[in-house]
Point group: C2
Chain length 224, copies 2
Amino acid sequence: MSDKPRHITRDVLPEPTLRRLPWYLAYVKMLDSKHEDYVSSTQIAKRLNVDASQIAKDLSFLNIKGKTRIGYEVHPLKKELTEFLGFKHRHNAFLVGTGSLGSALMQDLGLMQYGLNIVAGFDINPEIVGKNVGDIPIYDIKELAARQRSSGVSIAIIAVPFENAQEVADYLVESNIKAIWNFTPYRIKVPRNIVLQNTSIYSDLAIMYNRMESSWNNIKNTPK
Amino acid sequence: MSDKPRHITRDVLPEPTLRRLPWYLAYVKMLDSKHEDYVSSTQIAKRLNVDASQIAKDLSFLNIKGKTRIGYEVHPLKKELTEFLGFKHRHNAFLVGTGSLGSALMQDLGLMQYGLNIVAGFDINPEIVGKNVGDIPIYDIKELAARQRSSGVSIAIIAVPFENAQEVADYLVESNIKAIWNFTPYRIKVPRNIVLQNTSIYSDLAIMYNRMESSWNNIKNTPK
């Protein structure tokens, strides 16, 4: 038996770096599709409005070196970013709450492209249970623990009404789920050893509304 | 003609406050559905893992006062938060890119509940143009400028492949769109007077993957 870890061990990256890496990846993918060979951090900086020295620092976490004056090779940089961000591996996941947002996520091909493979949906609604969304079967939520045991899936997405978010999270933790991606605006609590990622598109919406008002009020109040 | 602004004029809120307000709303909605009458900031603090003094400070931006020892009245607090966050008004929006994620957003009833009403989708694919997603018609992207003029819609959602994100954004700005909600991981550039909100669910996914690895490596490396 080998003692080698399956993934490269690395330090916890600063979250701001981790948020910027997918921007670089998107840009580098675009350059790759245009058959560009090299990209410099100055070029990325100009395009993405991030400081060039910051970009060099962010990319120093990766197993790739730029060349003076020429920059990074586009194709290897794309591969390394994809690998580094975990998008190349296939991560199986359950999804709980196959309503409007939930079934939307089950149909989003983007998630699959970024390595997330939703293998089953779960719901409490007897009219939905037994049906499919695309190719993905929907099971009764009560079956989740047993299906976790037989499949070893360790990621679950929560897309239930927010009133039930905590209850579902507790059940997922009991069912041996190790990482929870919470799409409800409810701030669930989980034990420390559980990875929790919150994505609240409605919070982003509130921020947009607020900026719209501020910006329009400013225009109104600006002397001409 | 009245000079009164349609919305209450207010300062630009700190973004962290704005990110927390929807959490309070979700919690308060849940209390309201359970017919609770009062909630204290200590109670919210305990539940949401936010400092009680921070909560009192956040809520001080609202037009509502808590009572000593008793706290806030649940129902008025819910109404005020909903109003304040802009979720009560109806904001019409266009959506560009009716692929997997785009049509998912068009079907998400949650957006409507939070005040965003997608009135039309736009695409370049002639096989999709002319069809509907739910009740929402899909038009040729070339019609967007004209449809903006006739409808006055000022918000647009970008859900196209990231390679086309900038091009679409430029076209939206030319077409008199004032606020852009970008769901691609591409970091588009817009003029200063345009409100830009980025939501990259794939960046959140990368962060989750990274934390999963870190947390699992830590477990492996912890001496028993």
